[in-house]
Symmetry: C2
Subunit: 223 residues, 2 copies
């Protein structure tokens, strides 16, 4: 049965389920129990069942889950059963990489406009899409239905771009600039923060080394 509110933690796990189910389907697995899936994914079976039951009872007692069906369900739940019209603002390193990445297109994300300020980039094409002058963004966004805006500008411009595209009615922003883009209620922002990701990794490296040197653990019994 459906839960009244799906927690952030569950939402974050949905794409992971999708990923594993895609792979299982690809290698021809027909059914899987929460137990088996648990072992593969490294999370508890009971959590899997709990998570899935936020959206419906997709399994069958004594049998498990049909991989194909469950994958399809999760695909629908995430919203990958439709197409998305995407614009990308900032055609630098990361912008170009994302525009070139065909994985997104395969899942229904179509880049319909690429924008930049740099005159050297304007007019160039990425996968047959012309990079347009950022001054034309406002008009373009008004004239075309756009579902999602990717921001890959320097951090100084990110919020300004966000405000502008929100102003013309765009409801979701995938931000790669290293600032937290803010938006009014009803607009969805996902801040990626690659730096942060790297730093947590680096923290762990040093945490271990630090243990020895710093002796920061209050001795808690023997060991």
């Amino acid at each position: 049965m459906r839960k009244d509110k799906v927690s952030e933690a569950v939402i974050r796990r949905l794409p992971k389920y999708y990923r594993y189910l895609m792979e299982l389907e690809r290698i021809g697995v027909e059914r899987i129990s929460s137990q088996e899936l648990s072992k593969k994914m490294g999370i508890k079976a009971t959590q899997i069942r709990q998570d899935l039951n936020c959206f419906g009872g997709f399994g069958q007692q004594g049998y498990g889950y049909q991989v194909k069906m469950l994958k399809k369900e999760i695909k629908d739940i995430i919203g990958l059963n439709r197409e998305y019209r995407v614009i990308l603002v900032g055609a630098g390193n990361i912008g170009q990489a994302l525009a070139n990445y065909i994985g997104f297109e395969k899942e229904g994300f179509n880049i319909v406009g690429i924008f930049d300020v740099n005159p050297k980039l304007i007019g160039n094409t990425i996968r047959s899409k012309t990079i347009m002058d950022i001054d034309t963004l406002h008009t373009f966004a008004k004239q075309n239905r756009i579902d999602l805006c990717i921001i890959t500008t320097p951090k100084e411009n990110a919020q300004q771009i966000a405000d502008m595209v929100i102003g013309v009615g765009i409801k979701s922003i995938w931000n790669f600039a290293p600032v937290d883009v803010e938006a009014r209620k009803g607009v969805f922002v996902e801040n990626v923060h690659l730096n942060d990701s790297l730093y947590t990794l680096v923290y762990r490296i040093n945490e271990q080394e630090g243990m020895k040197k710093r002796e920061c653990l209050p001795a808690k019994g023997g060991e």
Copy 2:
């Protein structure tokens, strides 16, 4: 006082603190209270104090925190007070974007080797670093001290590359391939999963729309 174990949640917030403190220092703010910082960051003041006290008492009662000092402390805690020698495997779209991004270099991450299988890429240079044949990776990694390996290969090769670099003693992996790279204890892996990030964003878009259509909320009192 230092906590015996710093939770994952706290670790994930450290780079965010660092980011905000960098900005505060840049714009010339000398001191800040947990209350003010709370407002800026959108997290509770009490959580900030709780978090910081995992590592030490950096504040002063009745005054707050010295921005410069606290930034320095967090920088040290994360481990950004030293240099890292990095190799990058997979010089495709994302690999090139990361190799070109100077932000990492500024924080002490030096790319000392770039590798690919593609003969068309091998020999090319990215920021004056030559792309080398992946067959030379094993020898290279043995002969050079390397702190971190960035994997930007297709998903099919990611685990294999990981196993190899772990085999020659590399202790941390920043993986961009859309699979969960596994590693033995003592090796740190950060799986980035850009797709997952996009999908959670997309989920939110549809969640809202879904509300109306599906009527999945059990009516809980009025409204």
